[in-house]
């Protein structure tokens, strides 16, 4: 059975000023069941009345007629985008479409798992009055708020009607399932990575809309090099908050980490930092698109416009493969942009060793924006043999925790785990991904093995906090199931890269000091409210034996005005 549902193409204001329709259809295919709400095994829309707390009636599921396969949800008027039934179905469709994009066989190639212990992501399309939206692991939910446009008091802005915002928050939820340790990271660049991936998820969802692609390319003559609805994240939301500033964030930027650069960003602010990474990757996407346009015109410049749509669709797929597959290779623990850059390079190089162009663009951007000191910092070894993998039974390694621990303990040198240090093994993954190579499509089966351990470092936050803190580092080992070659071996322990290590440590100091100064991070009992429970608006730091440990820093992403 499949279910056809309507969803917002972008947001109400973009549709208006671009002169395009607001809604397009999407077919949902792979769910076990559909119920009113909409509710499926993996996603449930819960439309609360923010004033009374009552649960509003969910959109009614209309199963296929006898002998037919196409179901739908009842919507009284598909043109009334502000009606509850439309809002419920549109937000559901956007979330599910975003999930499917990650699950495609040329991306992650598997069903997603949530980071929380529960089957469903709960979607609250009208969470209350606030100019915000966020993913919250503890409540298994996406909370999408609405607010009165301060510059047009008669107008209500619903974040659940912004495809960018819904895709962005869904991106957070999905990434939390793929790399759950990022949630506890104290490194600004780790948190910024969460933000950047969420923004790029919104970008990829925008590329998926045929209507939007056509409209934008029509208006730009086939190019995405300048500012477009693609590079602008959450336009309606951003314009309501700041009519002069336009969208909430722009991916078309020159931002860098260079301390002396005019376009530098604050190294302790994950939101600002994220724009360096997302800006770099968007610039690569522009190069991919332009490259494909040149290739597709086959020497006839008059065809540049006519091929631009296909080039964009194909380019977006390449871009998706590049940025999503790398998430599987990301080592656990406190990661930097450089770690993610190395993961992108490794994932691409392992599959396309001879096609170097996209890796060149990545290197150019990472060096230009000073995310790495030089191109050598992104070099990784891929597709190599190691005796440890010769005899190992990968099936057993995936299924048995004991076997996985035993393997890691025996191969500490390979994995970089210091002797005598206790470690943690993450659930192993047996994944098969589809690769497009010059000689055609090929499926590659991999075993993904992740191990992490704790280290301590100086905690220079002032006398109120312990002198040292605990951080987590780790290694990802990706093994080709058939050849037993190591496709990638990536570590977040930067002790062999002292400069990177020092910068990340300084950044952690800066961010934690800011959180402490703003009262957003508190030690032990100070994080407990007068009701005896942990405060929602602060991050709790614990101290034991002179060591500070912090969990759930990612919550500050929405504490400091996330979208």
């Amino acid at each position: 059975m499949k279910v056809r549902v309507p969803m917002m193409i972008q947001d109400p204001i973009t549709a208006k000023y671009k002169g395009m329709r607001q809604v397009e259809g999407f077919d949902i295919k792979h769910e076990d069941f559909f119920l009113d709400g909409p509710v499926t095994r993996r996603v449930a829309v819960l439309d609360f009345d923010a004033d009374t707390g009552d649960l509003m009636r969910g959109a009614r599921f209309k199963p296929p007629a006898p002998g037919r396969v196409l179901g739908t949800y009842e919507i009284a008027d598909e043109n009334d985008i502000y009606a509850p039934d439309f809002g419920q179905v549109s937000v559901f469709a956007t979330v599910v479409k975003t999930m499917y994009m990650f699950e495609e066989e040329d991306a992650l190639g598997r069903r997603l798992a949530w980071a929380f212990d529960g089957p469903q992501l709960l979607i609250i399309p009208r969470a209350g009055q606030w100019d915000n939206a966020y993913y919250e692991r503890d409540s298994h939910s996406l909370q999408l708020f609405y607010f009165t446009n301060p510059h047009n008091p008669g107008e209500m802005i619903y974040t659940s009607l912004s495809r960018d915002i819904v895709a962005h928050e869904t991106g957070h939820a999905i990434l939390d399932g793929i790399a759950p340790e990022l949630y506890n990271s104290m490194t600004p660049q780790s948190l910024a990575l969460h933000e950047a991936i969420a923004d790029l998820t919104a970008l990829l969802m925008a590329f998926r809309s045929g209507t939007l692609r056509e409209t934008v390319l029509d208006q730009t003559g086939g190019s995405i090099r300048n500012s477009t609805a693609f590079s602008s994240i959450a336009e309606e939301f951003g314009m309501a908050r700041n009519p002069e500033g336009g969208s909430l964030r722009s991916l078309l930027n020159e931002k860098t980490l260079g301390p002396d650069d005019a376009n530098r960003v604050a190294r302790n602010d994950p939101h600002a930092l994220s724009e360096v990474l997302s800006g770099a990757l968007y610039a690569v996407m522009v190069e991919i698109h332009e490259g494909l346009r040149r290739e597709y015109v086959e020497g006839d410049p008059d065809r540049e416009f006519s091929v631009s749509g296909k080039a964009l669709a194909d380019g977006a797929d390449r871009f998706k493969r590049m940025i999503f597959r790398a998430l599987d290779y990301l080592p656990p623990g406190e990661v930097s942009f450089a770690d993610y850059g190395r993961a992108i390079i490794a994932a691409d190089q392992a599959s396309h060793p001879d096609d170097t162009q996209e890796r060149e663009w990545i290197c150019d951007q990472f060096v230009t924006r000073q995310m790495v000191a030089n191109r050598e910092a992104l070099q990784v070894e891929t597709n190599f043999e190691h005796p440890a993998l010769k005899e190992v039974d990968l099936e057993t390694l995936v299924e048995s925790d004991w076997a996985a621990y035993e393997f890691a303990n025996r191969n500490r040198d390979l994995l970089g785990v210091p002797q005598e240090v206790p470690f943690q093994i993450w659930p192993r993954l047996d994944v098969t991904k589809l690769y497009y190579q010059r000689d055609g499509k090929r499926k590659i089966r991999e075993c993904l093995f992740k191990v992490s351990w704790d280290q301590s470092e100086a905690n220079q936050l002032g006398r109120r906090f312990p002198d040292r803190r605990q951080i987590t580092v780790g290694t990802t080992l990706a093994v080709d199931w058939d050849t037993r070659m190591i496709r990638a071996l990536l570590r977040s322990d930067h002790s062999d890269r002292p400069q990177e290590q020092q910068k990340q440590q300084e950044d952690r100091d800066r961010m934690l000091r800011r959180l402490g100064d703003e009262g957003l991070m508190r030690l032990g009992p100070l994080a407990i409210g007068p009701d005896g429970k942990e405060l929602r608006s602060v991050v709790r730091a614990d101290s034991a034996n002179g060591l500070m440990r912090v969990r759930g820093v990612a919550r500050t992403l929405h504490i400091v005005r996330e979208v």
């Binding site: 707390g53 100064d517 100070l526 409210g529 429970k533 608006s537």
Partner: protein
């Protein structure tokens, strides 16, 4: 040699401070003028016993010796700072005659018409109150104290009384004109805070979806909405979510409390080279704003803000500007913490005060057991 004198009373959990300043009369004759700051304590628990007010006001009247008080300062609209004078007048028949009064800017009757954004804390307070009525088991003793201390209806009566207390009442804020708003000829006043628009201090409020409804009868008791999970929805996660959406009220009550504290009048009294700082209950956000406006400078006396809480003491980098190490001159430096343990959660934060404040100056505590109720510490004297 003249002596400026600071007398800090034990009103349990609250503030009452009398500052006596050698000055001159209109004719140039020596004359001691007096400033009374706040007078109040919390409404509930051990920290809120009203018996303290009689000895305090009697002592103030004795010091005034039949003359009117020169200046009364109400730092902010919290009961532990405002309720004492109304209580003394209406219940004890002890009424002060006051020439000038300074009230924090947001205490002006028309304030919320001018600054509607600042109204949010009042609206949220009412929502939280309804939730606690509908679900009284949520109201721990600490929350009860905070609710009472922030109750706009209770403070309204006290503030109304204080508005009409003096011959001349001014609503003060940083940058306001103080000419003719006090009779002092030699002492100088510098108002460091609050800002005129206090909504700046509110910071972030958690979204609240409390799910409290009233019946059609407006006098009916509020009740808690208890939605049930629809078919196919994980019930445990559903109820967890409903409760999670309610839980922001605790953070918001703290935010309301902080917002009011941050509206505190913070003033520096300068007399013959001495600088004395009275910050009411200013918290971090206010200290940060003062710093942003370059207000912070070295002082010789600090009334520890907010009863010695961790949010009242300025961050170390800001404290460095107020009580720098080493001291910029050889004058004695002192601080007083007026507090009463176990009234407000984690107040005072003695570990923090020991770590950050004690190394910088002599610190005296006025709290349970240090001096009798309504009594005062030995006067702090500043010779000049």
């Amino acid at each position: 040699m003249d002596k400026l004198r600071v007398r800090v009373y034990n009103v349990r959990f609250g503030d009452a401070i009398l500052v006596s300043v050698p000055d001159r009369s209109a004719g140039g004759e020596p004359q001691t003028r007096h400033i009374l700051i706040d007078v109040g304590n919390v409404l509930s628990g051990e920290g809120g016993d009203d018996v303290v007010f009689r000895p305090v006001i009697e002592n103030v009247l004795e010091v005034l010796d039949g003359r009117p008080l020169d200046l009364y300062v109400m730092t902010h609209e919290h009961l532990d700072h405002v309720q004492g004078l109304l209580h003394a007048s209406h219940r004890l028949g002890l009424t002060l005659e006051v020439r000038h009064a300074w009230l924090t800017g947001s205490a002006a009757a028309e304030y919320y018409d001018t600054y509607p954004d600042a109204r949010k804390r009042l609206l949220d307070y009412e929502d939280i109150k309804r939730l606690l009525q509908a679900s009284p088991e949520r109201e721990t003793p600490w929350m009860h104290t905070m609710m009472l201390n922030n109750n706009p209806r209770s403070t309204a009566k006290c503030v109304e009384y204080l508005r009409n207390l003096a011959d001349d009442t001014a609503y003060v804020y940083r940058g306001c004109d103080l000419d003719d708003k006090h009779p002092f000829r030699e002492a100088r006043f510098h108002i460091w805070a609050p800002e005129e628009d206090t909504s700046d201090y509110y910071g972030r409020f958690e979204p609240m979806a409390l799910g409290v409804t009233r019946g059609d009868d407006p006098d009916s008791e509020p009740t808690l909405t208890m939605p049930t999970p629809p078919s196919g929805v994980d019930a445990g996660a559903f109820y967890n979510l409903v409760e999670s959406r309610r839980s922001g009220y605790v953070d918001n009550l703290l935010a309301i409390d902080r917002a009011a504290n941050n509206t505190s009048v913070v003033f520096c009294l300068e007399w013959r080279g001495w600088k004395l700082l009275f910050p009411g209950d200013a918290e971090h956000r206010s200290w940060k704003t003062m710093d942003k406006h370059d207000q912070l400078e070295p002082v010789h006396f600090l009334k520890a803000s907010h009863h010695g809480s961790h949010t009242g003491l300025p961050r170390p980098d800001l404290l460095d500007k107020i009580l720098p190490m080493p001291p910029p001159d050889d004058r004695r430096r002192r601080a007083v913490v007026s507090t009463y343990p176990d009234t407000y959660k984690d107040v005072p934060d003695k570990d923090l005060l020991d770590t950050e404040l004690t190394p910088r100056c002599e610190v005296q505590y006025i709290e349970k057991g240090t001096v009798p109720d309504g009594g005062h510490l030995p006067d702090l004297e500043f010779e000049g």
